[in-house]
Symmetry: C2
Amino acid sequence: MRFAAIGLDHRHIYDLTEGLIAAGGVCVGHTAPTSDPRVLEGFRKRFPDVPAMGQEQLLDDPSIGFVVIAAVPRNRAALAIAAMRRGKDVMVDKPGLTTQAQLQEVTQVAEETGRNWSVCWGQAVSRAGQAALELVRAGAIGRVVQTLSLAPHRLNRALRPDWFFAPDAYGGIVTDIGSHQIDQFLAFAQADDCRISATIGSFGTAPAGFQDFAEIVMETDATRGYARVDWFTPDGLADWGDGRLFITGTDGTIELRKNLDLLGRSGGDHLFLTDRTSTRHIACAGREVTYYRDFIDAVRERPDRRAVQMRAFAVTRLSLLAQTHAARFAARQ
Amino acid sequence: MRFAAIGLDHRHIYDLTEGLIAAGGVCVGHTAPTSDPRVLEGFRKRFPDVPAMGQEQLLDDPSIGFVVIAAVPRNRAALAIAAMRRGKDVMVDKPGLTTQAQLQEVTQVAEETGRNWSVCWGQAVSRAGQAALELVRAGAIGRVVQTLSLAPHRLNRALRPDWFFAPDAYGGIVTDIGSHQIDQFLAFAQADDCRISATIGSFGTAPAGFQDFAEIVMETDATRGYARVDWFTPDGLADWGDGRLFITGTDGTIELRKNLDLLGRSGGDHLFLTDRTSTRHIACAGREVTYYRDFIDAVRERPDRRAVQMRAFAVTRLSLLAQTHAARFAARQ
């Protein structure tokens, strides 16, 4: 399964490409970034055998099955549409797009062309997250009462291009780093949709009004969800963020320490399960992330395209809804 | 400083009495419980030298400076009022009372009599909580962006008397176990008041409609707060609840593992501080809890009665407000 990497503006393109290659994909070419040449350097270092090519050339190549996109978020929809119109399936970095109008257009084009449009949300494809989903689906903690997610991110100001601080370019904090959490909630609630609201905070991170904090509250008829995302990972932390997920069930609880076990066990993807009889630690770091293989299988076999991409559209719709109608909290300093 | 324990309906009376004795108080008598004789057995085992006495006799004794109350919550206000009218200061287990009318009456009587009315919220007087407050006040994590608290509790159905399941007796989940969290938020936000809302959930714990889950969202002009309380501690956990507090600051973060460090270090009161330079574990289990000593000092010296009890009234008012106006979530099963 041959694919191309187009729109190399965010470093997430490294993970996406690596995941696809590990799942059997062959990356046959890449385009250049529009914003930050440093992303290109990192790509060349990781994938020295993948040649730089023109975007049109890649989109015209009938041997290429799909493209993977990590352009500036506001440009992702146009690239995805161009690719789908030329017979390519699409995997896109989160957020898949940034406006309601883009969502309508991508939905329509995916429908017309019969192409896959999949967003890699990251959280739901984490190793510990996958393991937790399997436990929950197997009934290990009874009915899910609530998922509660903490997702601090390191700002890394020196590494960030200008578009990173322009809300219309990245779509706002809920659309950007909140969409992960919405996807994750739907996965654990085993739901295709939810009620959603959000509060967006500005606690003084420059530039003025930068959305450095958000809370998202979600619910289905059976399950509650809460997520906090922010840009306040302290410099003294050993990873980019101390991501946690707490799942409360009627008969047990699960905690994920996604990035690191603070001053405890080494590495990430730690899962702690407590049920009626005991508390256990499950190390998930060695597990395969199945998202990339599932995507390639879906592109190749097309067994049920809607099942693959349904959540991509639902999560994108919910992210935009919550971002648009969020309450705003500008902190007094 | 001589005191009496009256209204022995909740086992919290053990901790309150122990704390006061450790802080130099002398418990000169106790009354009997109105609901659950097992509480009395436990009290006698822990404090064999404290004699059982009549309530009127204790309230009439001019040598007794204050009373400590852990009656059925709906009866606490009346006991506190009786004690204040007879010249006694009051320390009461949380919740201090259960209705708006009781709050007005207690406020008025405290004002008229000049007596202290202090509620022991528990969380803010924990060792790790005290240590965290000191760090925050010293600027260790910059400005406080948010506090996020997880407070699961074990239901222990077999140990619970009937009043435990009657909302008018215990006041509802926000009033009861949520008031802790409100007190804690105000402490870290260094505020006397906040905006507040809540959602109360029923996920099927018998009896029907039992309030087994709640979320509380708080904000001042500078700080956000979120708390989840629930009755879903699994039987396989080594303590009654895996209480956590995450404090996000502009320059650092603090995590408290209040009850236990899941499959990690032994004991409770673990504090993890991450700032611009490092991540550190601070063991707080050996520290003195100062609440009881502060209360006794305030009763003895009366330097500023209002400062001691101000938060008791504010937190009680906010708890009742949030409990009364909470959104309700009855989970589909």
